[in-house]
Amino acid sequence: MTGAQIAEKARSKPSVLPAPNGRDQLYGRLFRFAMYAALFLAFLGLGAILYDVAISGAPRLSTDFLTKFPSRIIPGNSGVQSALLGTLYLMLICAVFVIPLGVATAVYLEEYADRDRWYNRLVEVNIQNLAAVPSVVYGILGLAFIVRGPLGLGNVLLAGGITLSLLVLPVVIIVAREAIRAVPPSVREGSLALGATQWQTIWKQVLPGSIAGIATGVILALSRAIGETAPLLVIGAAASPRFNPDGLLSDFTAMPIQIFVWTQDPNREFVDLAAAAILVLMIVLLLMNSIAIVLRNRYEQKW
């Protein structure tokens, strides 16, 4: 039979396959449409905010805006230097506290903890819960224990950094655990079977194999930290200081605080400054997230 004959025969005979179910197909299309609509709405909201911010903020963006201190009186002479530096310092302090603590906790929970012990389960459940606690609660904790109370540091940079560290620590632990869990057990077995100790196995196989995932998670967690406003407001970050923090025990402010202060101002020009500051903060966040994505794509271990 030639191809044409087969085709002819196929046309003349009813199909052996059942006819497609019209209702199933319709539901399939509706569902797909609903998902596109949801996606569109999400982007629409984000786009509208960005558009609004860009319209009022973009004309204010300049190197002057980055290098000047905030002014209470002359909007045109105002900048975000102290806030931007404050945010960068906060991020550094956060990283210093959160990376060793978070990774060590994750290593303990994944590699050492016996799940049958009640205290390990308690720690696990608590970390999950802490990750969901509203940030303002961390602010209150910071105020009561770090700014005042036992540590009594006052409302200084270090207090802000520790408070934000506490806030993102559960998130860092969770992502680090996931990255560590992604290292297959066969790698641990292979290493231990060669006579490596558990410590050598963790240090030379498990951590190198999960470092990209951990780094990605830490960056995303830090970008959450620098976007937080409520805890810093509660612990009493300075409003529009005309100086940079000059040490861990210095007064400080941060981008979200500066934005908040400006949006409260009755003068419309200060509100435009807030929009410009939002753009700066967004750019910083976008940069950090891009680094996270690049790290993940380039260095993440495929098993």
């Binding site: 016996d114 049958d116 066969s186 641990r188 292979g190 079977a193 060669l194 490596a196 030379k204």
Partner: protein, 297 residues
């Protein structure tokens, strides 16, 4: 266990006649077969039972494993072969619920004695797993990992080259030592894992179904390699492939699943342990016969 004719504890040398007969039929073989009286037991497994939590996985295993021989562990799935082989280098320690009872003598020293460090055990008794598990590092670093964690002295390049030669992999990889091991074929990866285990100069190589993820050609190469390696190492291999056991091994232990005494549980037991020829051509136990002739399993 009373029906086990090869229970070497009660009957120290039950295999000498067959062993001599077998080697006599292969005069071309270069391996020097120890005379019946001089076979050295490297493992003296005495009444070993393993529990996972409440479940008894293997029950009262007693047998001797011999130096410079290949011992095959065969049997249906779930009969405890892997559990047993993992007792020999204390890999079962990694499973928190696993409890090993009985004793395993290694050159006369009980591996499960109080003062024995499992890390030291694993340095002497290497292991190759079912699925090739190279580290996500270069070929060179894969091999060098063991010697490095052991703090082995000497020229690392030479150690690596010698291990790769023993693993019959040197010629294929000598020009790409710094490339990632994940880029190798499955068969090459498995030989890399064998070479990696050899790099720390163990004297026993445990292989847990080393060929089950490989094609027949790669399997053939690994079998050739095992034959080569038994001059210097004692090898214990778990295999589902009876032809493989028949081809490569000197001794074969047949494991199967038995109902426990109270009838509620299923335990792995050793039914028969004898020279491979005998297990495959003239087994004592009906269950062994059914299994090796393909009636069950």
């Amino acid at each position: 266990m009373a029906q086990n004719p090869a229970n070497v504890e009660s009957e120290p040398k039950p295999v000498s006649a067959e062993e001599t007969a077998r080697t006599a039929t292969t005069p071309g073989e270069s391996r020097i077969t120890p005379a019946a009286g001089s076979r050295q037991a490297i493992f003296d497994v005495d009444d070993v039972s393993v529990h996972y939590g409440e479940k008894l996985a293997i029950r009262n295993v007693t047998l001797d494993l011999y130096e410079n021989e290949i011992t095959a562990l065969i049997g249906p799935s779930g009969c405890g072969k892997s559990t047993f082989i993992r007792c020999l280098n204390r890999m079962n320690d990694l499973i928190p619920s696993a409890k090993v009872a009985g004793s395993i003598g290694y050159h006369g020293e009980n591996l499960y004695a109080e003062n024995i460090d499992p890390v030291q055990v694993r340095k002497r008794i290497g292991m190759v797993f079912q699925k090739p598990n190279p580290f996500p590092k270069s070929i060179y670093d894969n091999i060098a990992f063991g010697p490095r964690v052991m703090g082995m002295k000497g020229n690392m390049d030479e150690i690596v080259e010698s291990a790769l030669r023993r693993g019959a992999l040197w010629d294929e990889v000598k020009d790409r030592m710094q490339t990632n091991a994940f880029g190798m074929s499955g068969g090459q990866q498995q030989r890399l894992c064998i070479a990696r285990a050899l790099a720390t100069s163990p004297d026993v190589l445990l292989m847990d179904e080393p060929c089950s993820a490989l094609d027949p050609i790669s399997t053939g190469r690994i079998e050739d390699l095992m034959d080569e390696l038994k001059k210097d190492y004692s090898i214990v291999i778990v295999t589902h492939n009876m032809q493989q056991a028949a081809r490569v091994s000197d001794m074969t232990a047949f494991f199967t699943v038995e109902l426990s005494e109270d009838g509620k549980d299923r335990n792995g037991v050793v039914v028969e342990y004898a020279p491979t020829d005998k297990v495959f051509t003239n087994p004592e136990d009906k269950r062994t016969e059914d299994y090796v002739t393909g009636k069950v399993g």
